[in-house]
């Protein structure tokens, strides 16, 4: 049982780490602001989400697990708001560099 939970953690956290890798490469290599925003939202939603779900089997108390999920939801909402604002600012500046 312990081993199964550990394997779930290793798989999910590794997948989250992979999304951080992909997001960083995207942020550095993509040609304009909107495509970079696309890479960044993958990190915000999937990278952090997979890491949080990978950590869930490792926490002892139920309150801590709830806190992990709340933090993820907070960052999720923040990412949704900020990506809309960034897209709006890009559109207004009229420059797609």
């Amino acid at each position: 049982m312990r081993l199964a939970l550990d394997i779930i953690t290793v798989v999910l956290v590794s997948a989250g780490g992979f999304f951080f890798l992909a997001g960083t490469i995207g942020l550095l290599r993509f040609p304009d602001t909107l495509t970079r925003l696309h890479a960044l939202t993958k990190v915000d939603n999937l990278g952090l989400g997979l890491i949080v779900f990978g950590l869930l089997p490792q926490v002892e108390s139920r309150i801590d697990a709830l806190k992990l999920i709340s933090i993820w939801l907070l960052v999720q909402m923040s990412g949704a708001i900020v990506s809309q604002l960034i897209a709006e600012a890009t559109r207004r500046s009229g420059r797609q560099t």
């Binding site: 290793v10 951080f20 550095l28 602001t33 949080v52 806190k67 420059r95």
Partner: protein, 97 residues
């Protein structure tokens, strides 16, 4: 290799990815691109702190992650509101001419 060591290694990996992503602040070219990089630092920092918190079984670090997630949102929202406000002001100025 224990699960705590794996989580510490994952935290270090995410930290390195975020640090590489910060190069976008140097290269810009628009201010919006720099904010993208700061947003990556925000969500990456939350991921690192959560991984550390579970790895060393120190639950209070989760509260630090919560605060970091909250403040990263405020930074981006404050900056982008200012950016969009000034661009609308210049739009109005050009319309009046």
């Amino acid at each position: 290799m224990t699960i705590a060591n794996f989580l510490l290694a994952a935290a270090a990996f995410v930290l390195v990815m975020v640090a590489i992503g910060l190069a976008r602040i140097l290269y810009g070219p628009a201010d919006v691109d720099r904010i993208l990089s700061v947003q990556l630092l925000g969500s990456g920092g939350v991921a690192v702190l959560l991984l550390l918190s579970v790895a060393v079984t120190l639950p209070p670090i989760m509260d630090v992650a919560l605060m970091l997630g909250l403040l990263a949102t405020f930074v981006s929202v404050a900056f982008l509101r200012k950016a969009t406000d000034s661009s609308t002001a210049s739009d109005r100025a050009t319309e009046n001419q």
